[in-house]
C-alpha cells in the first residue's frame, strides 16, 4: 500500500463533509461537517509530509488545528446567540435578511 491511499481516504471524508454542509439544516451538525472537512485536510497534510519526508506538512496541520479550535469557539458562540434569539438552531430560521 502506498501512503497515497491516505490522501484518497481524506478526499472521501472531505466529500462526505462537504455534502453534509449542504444537506443538513441543524447549524451544529453543519459545524461538525466543517470539522470533518478540516480533519480530512489535516490527514492529507500529514500523508504528504510522509511522502515528501519533511515535517512542514505536520506544522501546517498543527496550524489548521489551532485555527479550527478558534473557529469552533466563535462559531458555537454564534450558534448559542442564534438559539437565544430565535429559539432554534436550524439554519433555515436565520432568515431575517431574506426578502
Amino acid at each position: 500500500m502506498s501512503p497515497v491511499n491516505y490522501v484518497y481516504l481524506a478526499a472521501v471524508l472531505f466529500t462526505i463533509g462537504a455534502a453534509g454542509v449542504l444537506i443538513r439544516r441543524n447549524a451544529i451538525v453543519v459545524f461538525m461537517c466543517i470539522e470533518l472537512m478540516l480533519n480530512a485536510a489535516n490527514l492529507t497534510l500529514v500523508a504528504f509530509s510522509r511522502i515528501h519526508g519533511n515535517l512542514d506538512g505536520q506544522i501546517m496541520a498543527f496550524f489548521v488545528m489551532v485555527v479550527a479550535a478558534a473557529e469552533v469557539v466563535v462559531g458555537l458562540a454564534i450558534i448559542v446567540m442564534m438559539y437565544r434569539s430565535r429559539h432554534s438552531a436550524s439554519v433555515d430560521d436565520a432568515s431575517l435578511m431574506k426578502l
Binding site: 500500500m1 502506498s2 501512503p3 497515497v4 491511499n5 491516505y6 490522501v7 484518497y8 481516504l9 478526499a11 472521501v12 471524508l13 466529500t15 462526505i16 463533509g17 455534502a19 453534509g20 449542504l22 444537506i23 439544516r25 441543524n26 451544529i28 451538525v29 459545524f31 461538525m32 461537517c33 470539522e35 470533518l36 480533519n39 489535516n42 490527514l43 500529514v46 500523508a47 509530509s49 510522509r50 519526508g53 515535517l55 512542514d56 505536520q58 506544522i59 498543527f62 496550524f63 488545528m65 489551532v66 485555527v67 479550535a69 478558534a70 469552533v72 469557539v73 466563535v74 458562540a77 454564534i78 450558534i79 448559542v80 446567540m81 438559539y83 437565544r84 438552531a89 436550524s90 433555515d92
Partner: protein
C-alpha cells in the same frame, strides 16, 4: 523521487516508518483498510443520522481513527494533539452546546428549497469523483517516510521548525486565539437592561395578575409517571400545559399522555388483575371498566390532588372565558 534508505528513525515504532521505497508494512495496510472503513462509516453517520448527538458521537469516532492514522504516518505529536484537542475539547464543546440547545431536537425533514437535498448529494458525489480522479492523476509511487526527519524525535523536530521557520505564523496564531477567546465571551455576554425583579416584587405582581396564585402544578401523574416531561392530567383526562416547564414546551419535548397510553395502562391493569385472579376493579367501579377513570383514580393516590386539579380546571376555564 529516489527512495532513500531510512537511517536511524524512531527505534520503538520503526517498522512502518523507516520503510523507504514503495510500500508500507502489511500491518499498516490491514489497519488502513479496517480503520478507514470505520472512519468513512463514522463520517456517513455524522451526515445521515437525524439526531445531533448521534452525529457528534460518530464524528468523535472518526476523529479518534484519524488520530491513529496520524500516529501511523509518523506524526506522533499531532496524533496525541488530535485526541486531546479534537475528541477531548472540541467535541465536548459541541456536546455542551447541544445540551444547551436541546439534545433530542431532530433535524426537520422539510425542504425549504425543492430538490435541494438531492442536488447537494449529487454535487458532493461530483466533487468526490473530481478529487479522486485528480489524486489518481498525480499519484506518486515512491515515498520517503518521515523516519529521517523524525530522527531526533518528532516533538523536538517540530519545535525546531515552529520556532525558526514558522515563528511569525506561530505569533499570529497566538493573537488569533486571543481574539477568538475575547470574541466568544463578548458574543455570549448579555447585558441586563432592566433591574432584575426581587422575589417580593414577583409575588406582588402575581397577586395583581390573579391568574395563578399558588405555585405552578407539578408535572407527572401521581403513581403513574413522575417524569418532568409528562404533563399532569386535568379531571377530564386532557394534559395540562401548565405543568410542564416552558423550556420543554419550547423544544417540543412534552411527552403526551394520549388516549393510547391510557388504554395501555388499562390493559396492563387488566393483565395484572388477571394474573392475580382478582376482580378488584370490577368490584370497585362496576362494569364496564373505564380506563379513563382508572387512570384518574390512580393518579389521585395522594388525597386532595383531585380538589387541587378541579380548582385548576376552573381557573383555566375562567381564563378561557376571559
Amino acid at each position: 523521487m529516489p527512495a532513500l534508505p531510512a537511517t536511524g528513525g524512531v527505534p520503538s515504532s520503526g517498522g512502518a516508518l523507516t520503510l523507504a521505497a514503495t510500500a508500507t508494512s502489511g500491518g499498516e495496510t490491514a489497519a488502513f483498510w479496517v480503520l478507514g472503513t470505520i472512519a468513512v462509516l463514522g463520517a456517513l453517520g455524522t451526515v445521515l443520522l437525524r439526531r445531533a448527538v448521534h452525529s457528534a458521537l460518530c464524528l468523535a469516532g472518526t476523529m479518534v481513527i484519524l488520530a491513529l492514522f496520524y500516529l501511523a504516518n509518523g506524526a506522533y505529536f499531532l496524533g496525541i494533539v488530535q485526541i486531546v484537542v479534537y475528541t477531548g475539547a472540541v467535541m465536548m464543546l459541541f456536546l455542551f452546546v447541544l445540551m444547551l440547545v436541546g439534545v433530542s431536537a431532530a433535524d426537520s425533514l422539510k425542504e425549504t428549497l425543492k430538490g435541494q437535498r438531492w442536488l447537494a448529494a449529487a454535487c458532493g458525489l461530483g466533487l468526490g469523483v473530481l478529487l479522486v480522479a485528480g489524486i489518481g492523476q498525480a499519484a506518486v509511487h515512491t515515498f520517503e517516510g518521515v523516519g529521517r526527519a523524525n530522527a531526533g524525535g518528532n516533538v523536538p523536530a517540530l519545535a525546531t521548525l515552529l520556532f525558526t521557520k514558522y515563528v511569525v505564523a506561530f505569533e499570529v496564531v497566538g493573537a488569533l486565539l486571543t481574539v477568538a477567546a475575547v470574541g466568544a465571551t463578548l458574543l455570549t455576554h448579555r447585558e441586563r437592561i432592566e433591574k432584575s425583579k426581587s422575589q417580593r416584587e414577583q409575588a406582588e405582581e402575581r397577586v395583581k395578575r390573579g391568574t395563578q396564585l399558588p405555585p405552578l402544578p407539578a408535572p407527572g401523574v401521581y403513581a403513574r409517571h413522575n417524569a418532568v416531561d409528562r404533563p399532569g392530567l386535568l379531571p377530564d383526562g386532557t394534559p395540562s400545559e401548565l405543568t410542564i416547564s416552558a423550556t420543554l414546551r419550547d423544544r417540543g419535548q412534552v411527552r403526551e399522555v394520549g388516549q393510547e397510553a391510557l388504554h395501555r395502562v388499562a390493559a396492563l391493569e387488566q393483565r395484572t388483575a388477571d394474573s392475580h385472579g382478582q376482580t378488584e376493579h370490577g368490584r370497585m367501579y362496576g362494569e364496564p371498566h373505564d380506563p379513563q377513570r382508572d387512570v384518574d383514580d390512580a393518579d389521585d393516590a395522594g388525597q386532595g390532588g383531585r380538589e387541587a386539579r378541579k380548582a385548576r380546571g376552573e381557573a383555566r376555564e375562567e381564563e378561557a372565558a376571559k
